[in-house]
């Protein structure tokens, strides 16, 4: 009997030992790759490039966020939404004294740095494994790799420019850092150098193509030399403005010249043009605009569930509530409406009024009702955000091709005009560029909102001939050209993410918002704006996470 027991014990012990194999505890997760494996996979190089664009496809973190900061926190629009408790972070920035815990600012910060991180990872990967990349079974050529690198550098500069317009000085990260590294803020001058350096490398790369030479069928949405030049000009205007306002060191005129030269290059060599009809940009079908010679850069959108692709959150967030079916965000101000010339069709094509009527897909009328939510004061919504029913799949606001245009040729012309004036260049040239934008609006744009049945702002519109334009609406050298350019920028680029950037660089943010508060006072917009409002505070959480290496801006201490 004892013998039996011994047998059982021995057998069990033997089994026990054999079961506990050496690799019993090695259970790596499935479906993951390590670095070495990843770069050997087909298409790894292009995938890394794509990942650098991807933070811009985050509807909340990028599209909604960028327009909220740039337009809804200043005089172009209010936050809107269901009630004052709906995304209160936007209204808080609009008052002019956001807390460092503000979620909107934190969102900007983390989204843009996510993009920068992706860019740094891609550049490091290309450096290390660039020679071993394979695409569609074929080794990736040095030329293709050079184009990838140029695009990544463009994108890194793009994200940094976004940060600089909001926070002015931020940590400068240009490599994949060890997780233990903590960085202080870089100065605005250092950031300027970095942004120019990245953009110049992109611009000077022989492998970054001109937009006109890119296939819109396969390459629309990717960076081009023209986009890089425009962003350089956009950045240069900003830095020049800060220099003029003693917000940073440097020669403002030199930077205006950089902007002029860059845009001149696009105008002369880009083979680009404005769409004759402004309607083609924002009608809602997004069939023409995204692939036109006017749009230099944007994030393409199409509802395609097979690839997990949906619409941009912007397209339901910033549309009227009630019967319109949106969530009521982004309500253009009365001030923006009154800034338009009543004959300017862009007023109609930028702002929808309460009780405007659009055609519903079943042929009935959709009477827009903007009452009863956080829009009772303005009673307006953005036409640029609105996709009429006929352009949505299944009448679903999340199933449209609505997309943001982040660089349009109109901006190129306006930058050139402004930089020309600022550098003492030819007024004729400046006026030509400015009036190209105005003529498109006043003369060649159809004075009707196609999908609409009734538009309040259509009532003052009429067809304008070239002759009438030249005598009445064109800006002439006797006008205050700079003021005209500023007004034109507001009207042309309203609600597209430019207004705060413009007000800051013009040094008119404080005065504009103070006036705005006195005039309207709604939701206390502008109430706390002083010269200490901008740059906006660095997110507290980032300061906390940096072991006090990163310090808050003086104006928020």
């Amino acid at each position: 009997m004892k013998f039996n027991r011994l047998i059982i014990l021995t057998a069990v012990a033997a089994l026990g030992v054999s079961a506990c194999k050496k690799d019993y505890l090695n259970r790596d997760p499935y479906g993951i790759l390590d670095e070495g494996e990843f770069f050997k996979t087909d298409g790894a190089g292009l995938k890394m490039l794509t990942s650098c664009y991807q933070p811009m496809a985050d509807g909340w973190g990028y599209t909604v966020n960028k327009v909220a900061i740039m337009d809804e926190s200043v005089d172009n629009a209010d936050a809107g939404g269901s009630d004052p408790g709906d995304r209160p972070q936007t209204t808080e920035v609009g008052r002019g004294r956001p807390l460092s815990s503000n979620a909107l600012l934190n969102e900007t910060w983390s989204n843009r740095y996510r993009g920068i991180g992706k860019c740094n990872q891609a550049l490091a990967g290309y450096q290390k494994e660039g020679a071993n990349l394979v695409q569609n079974g074929v080794k990736v050529s040095a030329e293709t790799l050079a184009r990838y690198i140029a695009e990544v550098k463009f994108l890194r500069a793009w994200y940094y420019l976004d940060l600089v317009t909001v926070f002015k000085s931020v940590p400068l990260i240009t490599a994949v850092e060890d997780p233990s590294v903590r960085k202080p803020k870089a100065s605005i001058e250092e950031l300027r150098t970095q942004i120019y350096s990245d953009l110049d490398e992109a611009i000077n790369s022989p492998h970054l193509p001109r937009l006109a030479s890119m296939s819109s069928a396969t390459e629309a949405g990717r960076a081009s030399k023209d986009a890089a030049l425009t962003i350089k000009a956009r950045a240069a205007l900003f830095f020049a403005g800060l220099m003029e306002n003693a917000q940073m060191q440097g020669d403002a005129k030199a930077d205006y010249e950089l902007a002029r030269v860059a845009t001149e290059d696009v105008i002369t060599n880009g083979n680009l043009s404005l769409l004759p009809d402004f309607n083609d940009l924002y009608r809602g079908d997004y069939k023409v605009g995204p692939f036109s010679k006017e749009v230099l850069f944007g994030v393409l959108r199409n509802y395609d569930p097979a690839f997990g692709m949906g619409g941009d959150a912007f397209a339901i967030m910033n549309v009227g509530r009630n019967n319109v079916g949106g969530w009521g965000g982004n309500t253009p101000t009365r001030d923006l409406a009154s800034s338009f010339d009543s004959r300017d069709p862009r007023k109609m094509l930028t702002i929808i009024s309460h009780e405007d009527i659009f055609l519903a897909s079943n042929g009935s009328n959709e009477v827009h009702n903007y009452k009863g939510y956080f829009n009772d004061f303005n009673l307006q919504h953005s036409r640029k955000a609105f996709v009429p029913q006929q352009y949505r799949q299944n009448n679903d606001l999340q199933r449209s091709n609505w997309q943001p245009y982040w660089i349009r040729y109109a901006e190129v012309l306006l930058i050139n005009a402004e930089a020309t004036v600022k550098t003492g260049g030819s007024t004729v040239t400046a006026l030509d560029r400015l009036n190209q934008v105005r003529r498109r609006a006043f003369v060649t744009t159809v004075k009707k909102d196609g999908p609409a049945v009734y538009r309040q702002f259509a009532k003052d519109l009429k067809d304008i001939t070239d002759q009438e334009f030249n005598t009445t609406y064109a800006i002439t050298s006797s006008d205050d050209v700079l003021a005209a350019i500023k007004k034109e920028r507001r009207n042309e680029l309203a609600l597209e993410g430019f207004r705060l950037y413009d007000l800051i660089r013009w040094g008119t943010y404080v005065s504009t918002m103070k006036t705005f508060y006195t005039t309207y006072g709604f939701a206390d917009k502008g109430r706390d704006v002083t010269d200490k409002s901008w740059p906006f505070p660095i997110p507290q959480v980032e300061i906390d996470r940096s072991n006090n290496v990163l310090v808050q801006h003086d104006n928020y201490l």
């Binding site: 027991r5 059982i8 069990v12 012990a13 026990g16 079961a19 506990c20 090695n26 259970r27 790596d28 499935y30 993951i32 790759l33 990843f38 996979t41 890394m48 794509t50 664009y53 269901s82 009630d83 004052p84 408790g85 209160p88 008052r95 807390l99 979620a103 740095y113 920068i116 991180g117 992706k118 891609a122 990260i173 994949v176 997780p179 903590r182 396969t218 629309a220 990717r222 994030v299 097979a306 690839f307 549309v319 319109v324 079916g325 949106g326 969530w327 079943n362 009935s364 009477v367 009702n369 939510y373 956080f374 799949q393 299944n394 606001l397 939701a523 706390d528 997110p539 996470r545 990163l550």
Partner: protein, 1131 residues
């Protein structure tokens, strides 16, 4: 002979804990070779060889030692005489029981009396499950007559006089007295007792006598968990064990509660480990509470360290009921238990009706300088509209619309148990069906469990158990702050109707918002009305849609073990446990459009399947040896555990019809989607324990466990977890024996280290992915993105918790009063933490690291008093625990903000503070007038606004003024358990509560925002500040109220409460009314009947699975109170 015998004694000690074995017709010749043995050893040997039982006073048993005997095959009586003579003892053998007394005492058997009236009385003794109890000592008052029961529980006593009392006693049961009134056969039922030092408790990989325990272990009897309308036995544990805090995480049936033993040691997983008959589990929601024999909560490191790697949050051992192994013939018992209950919410908010809501919304607008929203004309139109369509102008009460009034809970349980010597079984079948108080949220469970034990040979025992569980759970939207069903049912406006078809008298200004053109006459889902005035979903539509999403789980949980007795003192046990579970979630979302907040463009049908297979294999060699005053038990063992899991899901859209017959993927036409995942993990462990006691007075225990986990990288897989503890039964020291009032006393102290490995798998790896979603290039050509997906930390290793415990167990007044007091200090070091990296480094994740240090310390007190006066028996048990939680370090990382409400930060975890303390602005009343504002620093305030305190006194109110505004940890948690019985009635009250914790009532930020957007409680209009109502607690009503809507102490309330958890009254039918029925009891019970609290939300009991949002009231599914009616029947 020996071959066919069974080591019953051991097994009983293992299972129930009787000291006494049972007489059988075995040899009356004995062979003994003992030197310096004590009486117990002698008698144990004799018992083993003869099967005779013995009865001796505890005092005698413990005091007699130095017995020397060396005999071969001698007659029992001869041997006993030889042994006892020099010790001054005498004995008598009656009914196969040896009675031992001091010689000086009177004869153990009553002198023959000459009293004429004396007659014979006989009867049976059973336990409350109707099973016979053998070995019960029966003594007669005023006489030395005594006997004990045989295997069938039968006894007979000669020469008993009317008026004398019979006393029935046996260890493990409460003793009982009966006055003899006639000579009819007696039928006695003894209640199991949880008293006595010789009671055995279940500990890791074995059992221990309570007297030998050196760790902190609390035992809860299964019957204390019965008859409560709970799915999960852990809910019934609430208030019954000191230091065990159980909070509901939502009232919907099937929601597991948050169970926290001795505080929160980590910001990660704080759930204890459950071990069900040896099978480790992470949750026991599947287990039928009626199957539970006992639950042991292992609290300190000494008790838990044997489970090292998984024990940092404590261990709850669950032993399920087994059949009896007695008698030569197979006996059986059938138990039937059933109850039916009706559930209703503990409390609901009283929200405004249509008229009040319109006035409120208008006031909010006019106070903000906007025109009133509803004109007088509008108001009339709305009321007419409501009257025409609902027959009343009250408007829609959304809560009433989704409430399942008198929601039924029903539970049926049949258990069959049986056995004879060497073989026993118990099988139970249970069906639980619980409707939720919100429609569609029902839960049902069918569970089946069988336990078998068979002694194959005298040295070989086989046991097996198998549980089969099938669960189903309906779905309502929960845990989604601001949008969950319960919350929206309170805040949706009362003007919106439930349905929009066939509406009459629709006011023009509301017409467009109803989207009447979106009604599809063939689609009932399109008939619901959108919510007109808020951004919420129609609660009725939401419930109707969610209820089509049903989760079904099936699991087989079983195990088998063999016990091999190698020698009398050495045993080997090998145990295999298996848990195979599968889950299926079916979902269907119809095509419908109510408005922009609630629509679905394509009907979608989906299914997801998951399966997890878990195996555990344990081998334990254990030693149990006593010589003279020394007693040693020891074990060494190995354990290997492995999880393998897979899941897959698919969905498709474009069903041609919403009809239920079409709810399969093949009936859908577009957008096929699929997903799938797979993972594995494993643990390998070596463990050992050694226990030594000297004279049963001085005890030490040491545990050591060495664990390897697949969750860590190759150099950090293994962790060592030691513990040591000591105990001193000072009650048995000479000085204490003279204290009559002290029955026993023990002092315990322990120290140990235990671990936690609950982090994401593969946290040690830096990974890349070539599949990170798409981006469009060109005319909508999807381009795949890829790159670095996660950075790991190769150095990640075990989180370690050190725990120190000092305890005192006292028993007074013949064990009627038991007191246990513990102090503990528990420090978690190297807390597994995702120390958040600055976003500017651009990583997509924060890698895990061993960064934090958290301390929990507190006192625990448990007091129990049991007594019986005549036919009135009663017991009072109370427990209380204090807890101080403090973060000692976050590894240099910044404070961790916690959420809990959309984008708000509500809690902070930082060094020097409790985990997840409430973080926000302090307020100091409300600005009453402009002058107050002018004298203060708060920009933009207007009269009626909250006044925020400038904490840092820098002259501005900004985010640096946020501070500690509350502590979610109670200072004291307590439970009170009162039981009483009188004749055939029994009564029980269970109360529990907490003192000193705060609750963040964050639903106020919407419900009482005053902006006129959400519906509000009726009292808001009268409570709110206005120039004529200078409130200092509720700010003004205004649609531009934004600055008041910060996280501030305005939201924080005292969360102390006392809850009468359960009240139960039972009546057992007198035996003489019953024939073949063994026991029949009816009961009525109320659950959650009364709650005493100052908290203004629905329920002060707010749990959270995340320690970072503890006590944040997000508008959870309300908790139910129930009335129940039940029956217990056995035959």
């Amino acid at each position: 002979m020996y071959k066919n015998r069974i080591s019953i004694t051991l097994m009983l000690i293992l299972t129930i804990g009787f000291m006494h074995a049972f007489a059988r017709g075995y040899s009356q010749k004995v062979s003994l070779k003992l030197t310096n043995a004590n009486l117990k050893e002698l008698m144990t040997q004799i018992q083993k060889q003869t099967g005779y039982d013995y009865l001796v006073s505890q005092k005698l048993l413990n005091s007699v030692d130095r017995i020397n005997v060396n005999v071969e095959q001698k007659d029992l009586e001869v041997v006993l005489s030889k042994c006892f003579e020099p010790l001054g003892l005498s004995f008598e053998i009656r009914d196969k029981t040896i009675f031992i007394k001091h010689k000086t005492q009177k004869s153990a058997v009553a002198d023959i009396s000459t009293r004429v009236q004396q007659q014979k009385i006989s009867g049976t003794v059973k336990n409350n499950q109707g099973l016979p109890i053998s070995g019960v000592t029966i003594t007669v008052s005023g006489s030395t007559a005594a006997t004990s029961t045989d295997e069938a529980g039968s006894f007979s006593l000669d020469r008993v006089t009317i008026g004398q009392s019979l006393s029935f006693s046996i260890i493990g049961y409460l003793s009982a007295q009966f006055k003899v009134q006639n000579y009819d056969a007696l039928s006695v039922v003894l209640e199991e007792s949880v008293k006595g030092l010789d009671e055995v408790v279940v500990v890791g990989y074995g059992t221990q006598r309570k007297r030998d325990l050196t760790g902190s272990v609390e035992q809860i009897s299964g019957k204390d968990l019965k008859s409560m309308p709970v799915r999960n036995a852990t809910e019934a544990l609430q208030g019954q064990a000191a230091g065990v805090q159980i909070t509901s995480t939502g009232g919907s049936p099937g929601t597991p509660p948050a169970v926290r033993i001795r505080g929160i040691g980590t910001v990660n997983d704080n759930n204890p480990l459950y071990v069900v008959d040896g099978l480790p589990q992470s949750d026991i929601g599947w287990l039928n509470p009626n199957d539970i024999l006992s639950m042991e909560v292992l609290k300190d490191a000494s008790a838990t360290a044997i489970y090292g790697s998984r024990a940092a949050n404590g261990v709850i051992m669950i032993t399920t009921q087994k059949g009896p192994q007695t008698g030569d013939e197979l006996t059986n018992l059938i138990n039937f238990d059933a109850y039916l209950g009706l559930q209703n919410p503990v409390k609901v908010y009283d929200m405004m009706n249509a008229t009040e809501f319109m006035d409120y919304k208008n006031l909010a607008n006019t106070n903000a300088g906007l025109p009133a929203f509803f004109s007088e004309e509008n108001k009339k139109e709305v009321l007419q509209f409501l009257k025409s369509n609902t027959g009343s102008t009250e408007g829609t009460n959304w809560w009433k619309e989704i409430n399942q009034k008198d929601a039924v809970i029903q539970n049926y349980d049949i258990a069959v148990s049986g056995g004879m010597k060497n073989l026993s079984y118990r099988t139970s079948l249970n069906y639980l069906d619980q409707e939720g108080i919100i429609q569609g949220s029902n839960y049902d469970r069918i569970s089946f469990r069988t336990n078998i034990e068979h002694n194959l040979r005298s040295w070989l025992k086989f046991s097996a158990n198998i549980g089969v569980v099938s669960e189903g759970r309906g779905n309502v939207l929960e845990g989604s702050p601001g949008f969950n069903t319960a919350f929206i049912a309170f805040v949706a406006d009362p003007i919106s109707p439930v349905y929009r078809n066939n509406l009459q008298d629709i006011p023009d200004f509301l017409k467009a918002g109803l989207f009447l053109d979106r009604i599809d006459p063939n689609n009932p889902w399109s008939m619901y009305s959108p919510i007109l005035m808020t951004n919420k979903e129609n609660p009725v539509a939401q419930t109707e849609i969610y209820k089509n999403n049903r989760w079904k789980g099936k699991a087989i949980k079983g195990g088998g073990s063999v016990d091999v007795k190698l020698t009398d003192w050495l045993r080997f046990r090998s145990n295999i446990g298996v848990d195979l579970s599968t889950g299926v979630s079916n979902s269907f979302t119809p095509k419908y459009y109510l408005n922009g907040n609630q629509f679905n463009s394509d009907a979608t049908v989906g299914v997801s399947n998951s399966k997890t297979d878990y195996y555990v294999w344990e081998n334990v060699l254990s030693l149990d040896k006593r010589w003279e005053d020394h007693y040693v038990t020891a074990l060494v063992g190995t354990s290997a555990e492995q999880w393998k899991s897979e899941s897959s899901g698919a969905s498709k859209q474009g069903l041609v019809s919403n009809a239920e017959s079409q709810w399969i993927i093949d009936a859908a036409s577009i957008n096929p989607q699929a997903s799938g995942s797979k993972w594995e993990s494993a643990l390998n462990s070596y463990f050992s324990r050694i226990f030594y006691s000297y004279k049963d007075r001085y005890m030490v225990t040491a545990n050591f466990r060495y664990d390897g986990s697949s969750n860590f990288g190759k150099d950090n897989k293994w962790g060592a977890f030691p513990s040591v503890s000591a105990g001193w039964n000072f009650g048995e020291e000479g000085f204490a024996r003279n204290l009559n009032w002290l029955s026993s006393g023990k002092l315990r102290a322990s120290w140990g280290r235990i671990g936690n490995q609950n982090i994401g798998r593969g946290a040690y790896l830096t990974t890349y992915s070539g599949n990170q979603g798409y981006y469009y290039f060109g005319q909508y050509n999807p381009q795949l993105s890829g790159g670095s997906s996660s950075i790991g930390n190769a150095a990640i290793k075990w989180e370690k918790t050190e725990q120190m415990d000092v305890g005192l167990d006292l028993s007074f007044l013949d064990r009627k009063l038991d007191v246990t007091l513990d102090y503990y200090k528990k420090t978690t070091d190297g807390m597994l933490l995702n120390v958040p990296l600055p976003n500017y480094l651009g990583y997509s994740n924060s890698p895990w690291s061993n960064a934090g240090k958290v301390e929990n310390k507190g006192f625990e007190l448990a007091v129990k008093y049991t007594n019986k006066i005549g036919e009135f028996g009663y017991s009072i048990a109370a427990n209380a625990a204090t807890l101080k939680n403090k973060v000692l370090s976050l590894g240099g990382g910044e404070p961790i903000p916690g959420g809990g409400w959309i984008s708000y930060t509500t809690t902070l975890t930082e060094v020097g503070m409790p985990i997840g303390y409430y973080y926000g602005f302090k307020t100091d009343g409300i600005f009453q007038n402009q002058a107050e504002i002018d004298n203060y620093v708060q920009a933009g305030a207007v009269p009626g606004d909250l006044r925020f305190v400038d904490i840092n006194k820098d002259g501005v109110i900004n985010s640096s003024d946020r501070t500690n505004i509350g502590d979610p940890f109670p200072d004291l948690t307590y439970g009170l358990n009162l039981g009483a019985s009188y004749k055939n009635f029994d009564f029980r009250v269970l109360a529990q509560g907490a003192i000193g914790n705060d609750i963040m009532n964050i639903v106020k930020i919407d419900m009482k925002s005053g902006v006129g957007w959400y519906n509000a409680p009726k009292e808001l209009m009268s409570d709110a500040w206005s120039p004529n109502n200078p409130s200092n607690s509720q700010f003004k009503i205004s649609s531009s109220n934004q600055s008041n809507l910060q996280i501030s102490d305005w939201l924080v309330e005292d969360g102390s409460y006392l809850r009468i958890k359960s009240v139960q009254l039972g009546y057992t039918l007198p035996k003489h009314l019953l024939r073949s029925v063994n026991n029949l009891r009816f009961w009525v019970s109320g659950y959650n009947l009364f709650t005493f609290t100052k908290y203004t939300g629905l329920d002060p009991e707010i749990g959270s699975n995340s320690p970072l949002s503890m006590g944040v009231d997000q508008g959870y599914y309300p908790v139910a109170k129930s009335w129940m009616f039940g029956v217990n029947l056995s035959f």
